[in-house]
């Protein structure tokens, strides 16, 4: 008897969430159908695993110099060869994934956080607040992003930390616009009106109702941007405005090999391949996510 009602309850539960479950099934179906998205997912998973287990995968210390073994071509001993200081490039590339992940995660948190807050305040309060915040956003958007990131990085002095700050200061605008649009949509919903009628403060409404609704579009956009973040960071590194030696940052490593390009091609080539593969993974995944979320392409 008791079991009966339980299974009834379960049935009702499933029934009431059918649209949601159907939606998930549909998404899973689209994911399986798109081989490119699957490949992207696998690349990113592999990238994360490599970054976590870097000390176990890398055969050498990424910054240990051994001048007796400098500029050696790829061999079974040094898979990707060695650089001008005799450092093992394979180990440096593996450790570079940790730097890349560090940049991605911190930039996403900082820029996503700033952007969401600015956007939510602008959208929720509207009027002058909105006008001022959005014009400021426009001003940041008036620069090509690398140019602005270069300016911040150079002014603060080149280092890994400053690279992260500089890139965050550039990318928050995207999320601000998104969060604002979402806040505008949410703030006029009836349950918000009801909250307000019951005397809830603006602060409370923003943090317990508006903000949570803005998180998911911002999260999606964050994943779409991760490839670009790596490229920007690598670009800064290449120009000498990013992480400083001997940090095994991929962009800086490509730059290291520039003077040896003709005879020791491997120094620049392998870190570049690492960047390309990881960014490709993010882009394939991002493309897939966009397609899956695009209502026009869903059917």
């Amino acid at each position: 008897m008791k079991q009966d009602t339980l299974s009834m309850k379960w049935k009702n539960f499933v029934e009431s969430r059918k649209p949601l479950i159907d939606d998930w099934k549909h998404t899973a179906y689209l994911w399986r159908k798109s081989k490119l998205t699957m490949i992207g997912t696998f690349v990113i998973v592999a990238f994360i695993i490599i970054a976590i287990f870097a000390p176990f995968i890398a055969p050498y210390d990424p910054i240990a110099q051994d001048l007796s073994k400098r500029l050696q071509p790829p061999s079974s001993e040094h898979l990707f060869g060695t650089d001008q200081f005799g450092r093992d490039i394979f180990s440096r590339v593996i450790y570079g994934s940790r730097i890349a992940i560090q940049i991605i995660v911190l930039v996403s948190i900082i820029s996503g956080g700033i952007g969401t807050l600015v956007g939510v305040f602008a959208g929720y309060f509207g009027g002058v607040v909105d006008e001022v915040l959005m014009r400021i956003t426009d001003m940041f958007l008036a620069f090509p992003s690398l140019v602005l990131a270069m300016a911040f990085a150079a002014a603060m002095g080149p280092s890994l930390t400053n690279t992260i700050i500089a890139i965050s200061l550039v990318y928050w605008t995207v999320y601000a616009r998104l969060a604002r649009a979402e806040a505008l949509r949410v703030k006029n919903m009836e349950y918000i009106e009801a909250e307000r009628a019951m005397g809830a403060s603006n602060f409370r409404i923003i943090f317990s109702h508006v903000l949570p609704m803005c998180i998911s579009p911002v999260l999606v956009q964050l994943t779409l941007r991760m490839g670009t973040i790596i490229l920007t960071a690598a670009g800064l590194g290449f120009l000498g405005l990013g992480a400083q030696p001997p940090t095994p940052e991929w962009g800086a490593m490509v730059s290291d090999g520039r003077n040896y390009l003709v005879d020791q091609w491997w120094i620049s080539t392998f870190p570049g391949i690492a960047i390309a593969i990881v960014v490709l993974g993010f882009n394939l995944l991002g493309d897939g996510i966009r397609d899956m979320l695009d209502p026009r392409l869903r059917r």
Binding site: D138, P144, L146, A155, S268, D294
Partner: protein, 336 residues
């Protein structure tokens, strides 16, 4: 009338934004701690020389005074004197910008034509081999760091195969054409200097391709999506029902509508080309504005960096303005 109002409004907004840009640039250059004098003279310069330089650069004045001076200068198109080249920054920009412009224009042509072509081919053959190939090809372009692609191309086509010329805009023993527009291709046509034209074109191929290929993906992507959208529209079915060939249905009916959103992305592309130019110019020793700014950063050449960055933001804003207007003009529904 509506269009005119729109343009005026957009223009006023742009001026406001540009003022903000100026503020940002000023803040970055003056408030964030870094020591230009130190970078210029090295850490061990005697204090009186340092003071002399501070005075020369106006760094001893109060911040507000410096800001007012700078804004007044900008309004007179005076961006100060570069510490590195000792020329007025405006002169330097005039000298270096055409190289960037030429590169960006050719790269835009490459990325727009390649992107539209790939995107259309993708959409028409959705989920077939061509679609997969076109998507991988374009996504690969946006995934490879331009500075790396540039280096590899230089290695293969210049150092190893010797098919294409290396860094710079012209070979050193070629007489450059007289500067009229600053664009070598156009100047050499004006002068009838075909040797320079041919050599300049060869020099352009690699950097323009590297730069353009990187921007192809976003154009291909948006063309594909809006093309897929258009192919599903009723009017495409009408066109098919009229008995038009597949080619005409795509070109005349679907593509024309699909290109409207693509136009907006071209403005963004131009922006990404400007930033790509910073890296490409460094790799190919291209004497453009991007390289000028980068070199400026390395020695903290404030006036050059501020002026150059300001100028790029200006160009970027104008490009976006043009695209907005073009967009309003392309869609007859917006023209009312």
């Amino acid at each position: 009338m509506g269009l005119l109002n729109f343009i005026i409004k957009r223009l006023l907004l742009m001026l406001l934004v540009l003022f903000g840009v100026l503020c940002i640039v000023f803040v970055i250059a003056n408030i964030i701690p870094a020591d230009p004098i130190g970078a210029l003279l090295g850490g061990n310069a005697p204090p009186e020389v340092v003071d002399q330089y501070r005075h020369k650069l106006g760094l001893d004045k109060p911040l507000a005074q410096r800001f007012v001076d700078y804004v007044a200068g900008v309004l007179r198109w005076d961006l100060g004197v570069s510490l590195r080249t000792n020329n007025p920054v405006t002169e330097d920009i005039k000298k270096f910008f055409p190289a960037t412009l030429e590169l960006a224009i050719v790269a835009t042509l490459i990325s727009v034509s390649l992107g539209i072509w790939l995107g259309t081919a993708s959409a028409v053959n959705r989920n077939k081999g061509i679609d997969h190939f076109a998507r991988i090809f374009s996504i690969l372009g946006v995934s490879m760091p331009v500075f790396w692609t540039g280096l590899l191309l230089l290695l293969v086509f210049y150092y190893k195969l010797e098919w294409l010329p290396g860094p710079g805009r012209l070979d050193i023993f070629i007489f450059p054409p007289k500067t009229v527009t600053g664009l070598i291709l156009i100047d050499s046509i004006i002068e009838g200097n075909w040797t320079a034209f041919w050599n300049g074109l060869q020099h352009l191929i690699m950097p323009a391709f590297v730069l353009g290929y990187g921007a192809t993906a976003s154009i291909a992507r948006i063309t594909r999506a809006s093309m897929l959208d258009c192919l599903k529209q009723d009017y495409v079915r009408t066109a098919k029902a009229k008995g038009l060939s597949k080619r005409l249905v795509i070109r005349r009916h679907a593509l024309r509508n699909a290109l409207i959103p693509t136009v907006t992305i071209i403005g963004l592309t131009f922006g990404s080309l400007l930033e790509g130019a910073v890296l490409t110019e460094t790799v190919f020793s291209w004497p453009g504005l991007g390289r000028y700014i980068t070199n400026g950063y390395l020695v903290l050449d404030y006036p050059a960096v501020m002026g150059g960055t300001l100028y790029i933001a200006l160009i970027y804003s104008i490009a976006n303005l043009i695209v907005d207007i073009l967009y309003a003009f392309l869609d007859p529904r917006m023209r009312v």
